[in-house]
Point group: C2
Chain length 328, copies 2
Amino acid sequence: MKNFADKLVEAVKAKGSAICVGLDPRLDKIPRFLKMKAIEGGDRTPFGAAAAAILEFNKGIIDAVHDLVPVVKPQIAFYEIFGHEGIKCYEETLKYAKSKGLLTIADAKRNDIGSTAEAYAQAFLGEVSIFDEDEEVVMPVFDADAVTVTPYLGWDGIKPFVEECKKYGKGIFVLDKTSNSSSGDLQDLEVVEKNADGSQKSTMALYEIVGHLIDSWGANDIGENGYSFVGAVTGATFPDQAKRLREIMPNAYFLVPGYGAQGGKASDVAVCFGGGLAGRGEKGLGAIVNNSRGITNAYEILGYDESKYAEAAREAVMKMKMDLASVI
Amino acid sequence: MKNFADKLVEAVKAKGSAICVGLDPRLDKIPRFLKMKAIEGGDRTPFGAAAAAILEFNKGIIDAVHDLVPVVKPQIAFYEIFGHEGIKCYEETLKYAKSKGLLTIADAKRNDIGSTAEAYAQAFLGEVSIFDEDEEVVMPVFDADAVTVTPYLGWDGIKPFVEECKKYGKGIFVLDKTSNSSSGDLQDLEVVEKNADGSQKSTMALYEIVGHLIDSWGANDIGENGYSFVGAVTGATFPDQAKRLREIMPNAYFLVPGYGAQGGKASDVAVCFGGGLAGRGEKGLGAIVNNSRGITNAYEILGYDESKYAEAAREAVMKMKMDLASVI
């Protein structure tokens, strides 16, 4: 089973970019013609029509960018907001992206323990067994290539995902230092490190401790390119912390949110690259930089007619590619 | 708008119990006759049949216990594992519980920031606006009374939920000290507290810091009974920590997992009660104790035929009620 990190490296090299397109569709940013088509196009519930409009929108974006980027990351909240019909659209978005040769990261930030975490891991990464009495059916559900997870519950909350990753060649990205302004409420707290006799040795920020945990959680599963399938989320808005985390986690692939709309610049994300076997010698590996609104809403930013949203997204990706190339 | 904590107090008094029934259905524990009925009962996909069996099972449990308990807590992972058809079953389970006069806690442990957290908060607690151009439709989605959330992203990840709570009379339970054995990986870390001049004053466990944060996040929204709509999750498996958290968060309602199957005893959960205006004078307030498998799988535990799963669940609730009454 190929390690997810190796699949990611291959895709990054094949596409010549380390860009992740975030598919976080907001109904008020979906072009009117797509919404009208969805409303008029059949006997749909309001949520069903919303989901249909979003799926069409996503397909347009995917068609426009799939040859330029290795991976897309739909954020499940923007689908779950339309209930089960939104979740169906989420499934179809993942499937369509896969059919176009893209890797997919389900941005779901799941966190739980025991059989609950197993259920999440099977749903997002693995397969589910149904009716094992008379006829056993084993089927994938979301079948994403990777999923984001939250570390607050410790190893119990991570292990079930790691097991599915091993079994199915999938990956996880564990939240470490997030891009939001209040991320420090917990993540920047200064934690006491102790000597063997229990006395205080030094202190370390919580995000650094989490970095060490992520490093240890992935230590047994490092692929050919020196990266583990246990990656880390490190916000582009905190470059100093990201630099420190690159040192702490030499084998982790970084998923970097916060570029663009949230204020992160190419020069800020540059420190996230590196690690792995290639170290800083091989450029463009070790991090994928996410951009959501900056690409999917590019038609507004560029002042294009909304009918040209897909072309605008393609232009935004090409511009971002050049922007990143200037620093890595 | 009535504060969620006051609704909870009313329901606890009306039902004379502080029990939360966890609806975490696992297909291998669903009675065979329900699965056969679901398979034979229509032109269903495998996931659709699984969802149909689970919904019937849940309705049986709800019918059997709704007059004995104030609240049910379906864990969304066990529904999401069947994709959008599972999520439809989740919606229907919440709706059915509500129709039987039960409060509902969506156990989803959501965590994100900005517009993403807003989307989650609207989906679980509030309403969603659709197609605001030609015809505005505003609809609830899951419409739970409360949702569980994770604090790792800080206030940015909590605020959007608090806003929906205010607007719709809903509540949240923030993970603090969870019931799993590795919960200490992060939650027990010793954090440095500083003096105004930056020198080290003392240390405090991360779960205590999170307790202080939860206390402050709920400080503006305390209801008539002295409890805030910002509650806390504190595992029954860590009674010493729960006792400390009860002191730190006098206004938080505690949601207590870990009783029964995970090893928590009535004597362990006793410390979670108290707080509020009533303090420890009024018994049975301040905490709701969750039990999932111990109730929904009681037919196995009691050695009953699976056709009697609902009766067994009712017996298990009555036994738990007596068990809790012995210590509070």
